[in-house]
Each structure stands twice: as C-alpha cells, then as structure tokens.
Symmetry: C2
Subunit: 348 residues, 2 copies
C-alpha cells in the first residue's frame, strides 16, 4: 500500500532554507530533518540560532550568507518571520536569491502576495499557511509533529490568474506548487488549496476573531478579581488560551488582516447584540442563540480537521481529498473545486 | 503527614442522596463510592438509572421513595438537576424530607437560594457549585475525578446574614457547612466560600459569558462555509468547545443568571466595539487590546486553578488556603476574607 507521501517522492524537495526559526519555522526544520531532508536556516536572534545549533541543526544569524547559500544550491526558501519583517526579507531575497522558489507561513496571504508581486517575485512564489500553533513562540517552543493532520493552506492565485487570462502556467511555478504541497505532507499536514482572498476571509473567522475574543474575555474575567480568577474553569481557559500569545504576534496577524477581520467582527458583535437584547427582556432567553450555536458547532466539528475512529488508533482525515497532477489539463479547475469543499490536495 | 481530608474526618458524611445522576451528579456518586461513602440517588430517566445500577450503583427512578429513604437515614441531599427542575424538587423535599441537609450543584446560586428561602428551607441549605464540567452530559459522561483540583463554590450567606444581624448561627447549619466542604474535598475539589451574589457575578464572567461567546463564534465560523471549517484549528476549537453543550443546559445557566450576565455581556461588547474602531482606522491596531489582554491572561493564569510543579508530579493548588473551624468565634469573618482572596477553605 502506498501512502500519499510515497507518491510525492517524485517531488522530493531541494535543500530547504528557512528564514526565521520560531515556533513554526523551527518545527518545520525539525520535521524535515526527521524525514531526512536537507534543511538549514537563519534566525535573527542569536539565542534561538545557538539553541538550534546546539541541538545539531544548521542555523545561522547571517542573513546575507544564508541567502547566498540558498542561491548557490537552489534551495526552496520558507519565509517564517512575522508579517512586519516580510518586506525586508523579500528585499533581501530579491537582491541575493531571486531565482529560488519561495513560500511562506505567514497567517495572512494577500498582504504577503502584494509585497511579492510588487517585487516581481510572483512567478517564484507559492504562499502557504500551516493552521497550527500554540500560545508559545520561539525556537524553544518548536517541536516535531506540530502540524500533524493540520490544514496547510497553499495559495494557487498565480496559476488561477494565468488560467483565467488564457495564459499557460510556467512549469517552474507548477513544480514549486507541488514542492510546497510536498513540504506540507512531509510536515504531517494536509495541503488545502486556497486563493489569498478566500484564505484571509476564512482565517479572519476561525483564527483572528478567536484571538480578539480571547484578549477581550481575559480582560472581562480579570475585572472579576480574585474570586473570578479562582472560579475560572474549562470554558474560560479554552476561550482565553491564545491570549497567552505574544501581543506582537497577535498584532501582526490581526492588523495586517484588518480588511477581512472588521466585517467578521461586526457579524460577531451583531450576534452578541441580539443575545443581549434577548437576555435583557422580561423573559430572558438564549434559546435561539444556543440552538443555532449548537447546530453550527456540530457542523464545524463534523467537517473540520481530523477525527479519531472509535476503534482504529489511526486518525482519519475528514477533509475530502482530490489527487491532482500539477500542470495536467484542467488542474487549476480541480484546485478551485477542492477549495470550495475545504478539501485537501495530493499531488502526484 | 495529615492531608486536608484526614482533618475533615471529623465531619464524615451521613448517607448521601443525589437527586439527578447526570454528568455532575453521576460523577459525585462515583467519587463518593470510590471513597467508601454511602451514596444512592434518583434519576428521572430510566436509561440513566439503569446504566448506573448496571455498574453496581444504587439508583432509583422513584423520587418519592428516594426522598422517604433520605428522610429515614437523615441523608445529605444533593440537588443535581438543571435549574428548571429545582423548584419541583424543592417542593418534594419540603414535603418528604424537610429535616435533611440540602446542598446543590446548580450553576447559579441566587435563584436557587430564593427558591429555598421561599420554602423556609434556608436553615437546612448550603449552596454549592463545582466549577467543572465538559460539553457532554448524562450519566454516561460521568466519571471519577471530574472535580480533581476544581474550585467548588460553597455559599455561606445564611451564616453571614445571621452574623450581620447579631444572631447566632444554628449549629446544625454550621455542621452542614462543614459537610459540604467535606463533600467537595472527598470529590477532589477545593471548597471556595462565596456569597450567592458574588458567585453569580463571577460565573457570569468566567462561565456564562464564555458559553454565549462559544455559541456566537461557532455561528460566525460556520458562516465561513467549508473552507473556514477546514482551516479551523486550536484557537477556534478552544473557544467553541462548550458550544457542544446541550442547548437546554446552556439556557438553564444563562437565562437564570441573566441579571448578572447582561452587564458583563455589555462590558465585553464594549471592548469589542473599541477593538473594531481601532481596527477600522487608517492605521489598524490591536496594540492596546492585545497588550491589556495578555496582561489579564497572565494574571488569570497565575492565580486561577491548580498548577503542576516543574519537577514534582504533584499538582499544587495556587489558591491561598485558610483553615477554619466552623462555629468558632470569628469564623464567618474568616470566610469573607477567603472569599475576597478567591481562596479555599479547609474545615477542621
């Protein structure tokens, strides 16, 4: 029996150069190294690079030297820095390694794509976003298996734009797309094709709004003083966990995706306003909200992420799968179909 | 070395009669039985009682017979039904077992206390609320250890009212208070003294608001369709988990605590409104929110619940503790001090 990964051995990766060895970049480095891939990286902070080297990884604090090396061995470059540092990193890549394939793991996709395009790097870029993280950050929080069964959004806008314009997709881009899907698979994740616009709208709902909520709820709980702190249990802890995230990272996510986040926040505030009205009436009720919320929860749970079969120890993905040969006739149309389903793509 | 439980052996429990063998009542039955206490109960649904009996527990579907038995052996009665059924249960207790000590595990305390008082049962009542639960319900979801290290709010209003009025506290009430603290300890929980008003305000913040948020966020996520469902990860799942709760139970919690919940909901909506304004400006920012939210999170985490020491496998409570001898001079004043600290009480 072949696994998705066996099929993808056609696309074993070139050397991988990770720029930024924090929680995400560091975890990718560990996963790739564990799979026997060639991987090295750059980290701005000396302490992170030192810790990585001490564990036997290949990390440098010299960005220029790292990019020269990437250019020399035609590495796949992964941008794993916060959004606020992407512009400067792209300038360095454009100057020193413009022919390398580029992907990224930033939590918004359109702002990155705009920066990429404005530098003429779009033909060598396939955006990515692994939907996995914790409230911790930095190399010391990174670990093998962080992305196991997670969705890894892979943006196919470049191919869609060419196809919509009746133009061919450059084979080097097609190969890069397959490599990024393989990168996701090697990290244990499931590649979910997205366009940057759809991605940013979806993550505003399921990631950035939850962060805004967590911060706000932490404040409301804290206003309750020590008694509220003492009585806080699972529902509070679950909803506020990501308020433990470094505020700078939250700013990077939410501020750069403000365009998509504001209307989603309005939708949420409007629901709460209705709940408030129904609760403040003569006969307080949350009937409509709790029933609609529970139905929505059941749908989200049934369809999102991986589930564990009751008997088998193997976790089964609940995402529909489509096997796609990048560059084959109609392949971009297939990606659009998968995106509509929130499905995963396996390249062969 | 003596443990808190050893000290509380002075207050070994009478037989315990649990009315309602769902997640909470069923888990208490299991914990008490595992400790060798005498425990039996009533459950409205035949399937729940049947399942309990099949596992060797002593469960009946006959409320009258169960209350007659409780009256006969002077049991401690635990009301473990949803708020909507409390009134009818209290009427039955008043009719058949009015001399038994009564406690409850309902998630609001003032509405229960009002019903208790209107039936003249207050001298035989000490309200309780174990701060532990899951999104599942019913006997089959119950399990040993559900309350391990959880806060178990224990209401001392009756004693405070007597003391404030310069009247003595009936020794039978004092004994009952100690028994309820012992019940919490036997279940692995930590007794946190509360007044019903402070309790309801605090749980509006840390439990009922999170439920309203979970329902609303589930709906907003679901509006994102299958792609949002596919991309939903930890932050979304953590914040929406309790939307899996039976909507009837959510209604029972939130509707009966509407008086405390509405102002807390207003506070939350106001914070989101400020966040929305800051995000919709020319330079979108969540700086103020993310920094205040993170500080609040750190405070809540530092002070709430139990933590695991880095070396020791033993979980250490982070709640300050005060040892109190119920009925001793100044003991009600001590309870007020502990409540202000969100601390736990150990009776001796």
């Amino acid at each position: 029996m072949t696994t998705p990964l066996d099929d993808q051995r056609n696309y074993r990766l070139p050397p991988v150069c990770i720029l930024g060895l924090g929680l995400i970049g560091g975890s990718i480095m560990r996963d790739l190294a564990a799979r026997g891939e060639r991987v090295y990286g750059y980290n701005r902070s000396r302490s992170g690079a030192y810790a990585a080297n001490k564990e036997g990884f290949d990390a440098s604090t010299d960005l220029s030297a790292t990019l020269d090396r990437a250019a020399g061995d035609e590495a796949l470059i992964i941008i794993a820095v916060p959004m606020s540092a992407v512009e400067s990193i792209l300038d360095n890549i454009a100057a020193r390694a413009p022919h390398c394939g580029i992907t990224d793991v930033v939590s918004v996709k359109k702002p990155v794509y705009d920066l990429v395009r404005s530098r003429g790097l779009a033909p060598r870029y396939v955006g990515g976003h692994p939907m996995s993280g914790t409230e911790n950050s930095g190399w010391n929080a990174s670990h093998v298996g962080l992305f196991e069964r997670a969705a890894w959004a892979v943006a196919y806008d470049w191919a869609a734009e060419r196809t919509d314009a009746g133009e061919p997709v450059d084979p080097s881009w097609t190969t890069l797309f397959a490599q990024v899907c393989t990168l996701a698979a090697l990290s244990g994740a499931e590649a979910v094709p997205v366009t940057v616009h759809h991605h940013d709208e979806a993550v505003a709902r399921v990631s950035h709004l939850p962060h805004v909520i967590a911060e706000s709820l932490a404040i409301v709980g804290d206003h309750g003083g020590t008694l509220a702190q003492s009585l806080a249990a699972g529902s509070f802890k679950g909803a506020t966990r990501v308020a433990g995230t470094d505020p700078e990272l939250v700013r990077n996510m939410c501020e750069t995706n403000a365009e998509a986040l504001v209307p989603v926040l309005d939708e949420f505030i409007s629901l709460l306003g209705s709940a408030r009205t129904a609760l403040a009436g003569d006969t307080p009720t949350v009937k409509a909200l709790s029933e609609a919320g529970n139905r929505a929860f059941v749908r989200m749970t049934a369809r999102s992420g991986a589930r564990r079969e009751s008997v088998s120890p193997v976790r089964i993905s609940s995402r529909p799968v489509m096997r796609v040969h990048p560059g084959a006739p109609g392949w971009v149309g297939q990606l659009k179909q998968i995106e509509d389903l929130g499905g995963r793509v396996e390249v062969f």
